[in-house]
Symmetry: C3
Subunit: 189 residues, 3 copies
């Protein structure tokens, strides 16, 4: 009798051990470092320079005293605010069919090196993804990789949080650049 009771108790024991364990796996931030979603996307920025109105996807809208809004400011563009609406593609080809738009602004915020501050949204609209991902963070442009925060999302990305790694994939004069964005979401619905 005793052995049968202990056997039942043992089953209970391991059952709850399993429950507790899986609970810790799900919720314990210490143990869960695998992204729940992972996207690799590119976006393309063509800045207005007074001559490319038709193709331009971004525009300087603010500048410090002494600077204008068709030429990026001296001192590493410190003080320029740029508003953008850039196509997002699955590969590095500007002419691929866009899967969405990157919309928001960047601010050049350092005098002694190229560095910007970003606030923007990926508005994705494709068969794979419908929804938005919101980003903010510092972007020290000359570093090979830069991490910014995914601070929220909507639609397919509702309540998302994570980290996005930016890489400059191309930089042509002061008119075109292409960023590769490696988005790792660690909180998903």
């Amino acid at each position: 009798m005793e052995s049968r009771t202990l056997y039942a108790a043992s089953i209970l024991f391991f059952f709850f051990l399993y429950l507790s364990g899986s609970s810790a796996m799900q919720h314990g931030k210490k143990t869960k470092r695998q992204p729940c979603k992972h996207l690799k996307l590119f976006f393309h920025d063509i800045i207005y320079n007074g001559e490319n109105a038709e193709n331009a996807t971004s525009s300087i809208v603010a500048a410090p005293e002494g600077a204008n809004r068709t030429i990026l400011a001296a001192q590493n563009h410190f003080g320029n605010v740029v508003v953008f609406d850039d196509p997002i593609t699955l590969d590095n080809n500007l002419h691929s069919i866009p899967v969405g738009r990157a919309q928001g602004m960047y601010i050049y915020d350092k005098k002694d090196t190229f560095c910007s501050w970003l606030g923007f949204t990926f508005v994705l609209n494709s068969t794979d993804h419908q929804g938005t991902i919101n980003f903010i963070g510092a972007d020290p442009l000359l570093m090979k990789t830069r991490d910014i925060s995914v601070v929220g999302g909507t639609g397919d990305f509702a309540m998302a949080r994570g980290i996005a790694t930016l890489m400059t994939d191309a930089y042509e004069g002061e008119v075109y650049f292409r960023l590769r964005v490696d988005i790792k979401l660690y909180e998903c619905w």
Copy 2:
């Protein structure tokens, strides 16, 4: 004897089943989709147009080359940055007693349609709510409803996260608009 022991074990079993279940309800993001707080508020934006200094609650502060700061820019206002301090009300009446202020900025960020990018804070100060709610996101104005992210909060909304649905409740020329904001918080303290 055995039956009594198994009876005790069964009680334990269901007790822990209950604990585990409620734990999953509380923490499992898959199962918990009910907002922990839900607010419906309106805010009212009166943009400065050179003649309404007394009533205006917002002002164009940046514009692309060729545009000025009293008339919204051509091409769907692309490139305009607007700073605002708008009254928040419980109903759709501009003259109701405000329960707080919506403070921040919006940026018109598309040439081919009306679309803006928002970064702002609800500073609530009423008998019901004391605290702030921070929002960012894309706002494609012509859609009936648009979702943005609640990325944080303070005071009564400490550590809040969620999703806010914006609806244009009124739009009068290019001087006044009223947004209805349906705030669903899914993370609360």
Copy 3:
């Protein structure tokens, strides 16, 4: 026999009670209000006024109609957008060795009092901390303490969330101010 079995069951009972309890402590937002990280830092802002180009760490880049970009606007600077790259120090001395830079923007967003809206990043680069902390929120400058949101982080502060309390530690004319920032992170990796 019965007593031994009940004894075993009791051990199980308290073992799982302990597991459930610690789980609630770890995950239940109601009970866990101790920050997982706590930093106290200062940052220093020297605004460009047309004469201090060498020392200035920030610059007015946008202003409402009628205002310029070397003198802060009338009406409590409503509508001024300032881009900054400010040194962060461990104490209140501007000349201490910086442990990082505060980069981003502030926007004066009220006509009837001093108030700003902040979007910025702490880029920390010292032996103690390597990583970034991203902030947004409203900053009613005349209040003794103001709370804003930590909405994300990278590096040592990966996935951080929390609340930062700002205190004006010094304010000299309209050229220099120093903020004390008390950062309490409630979500850490």
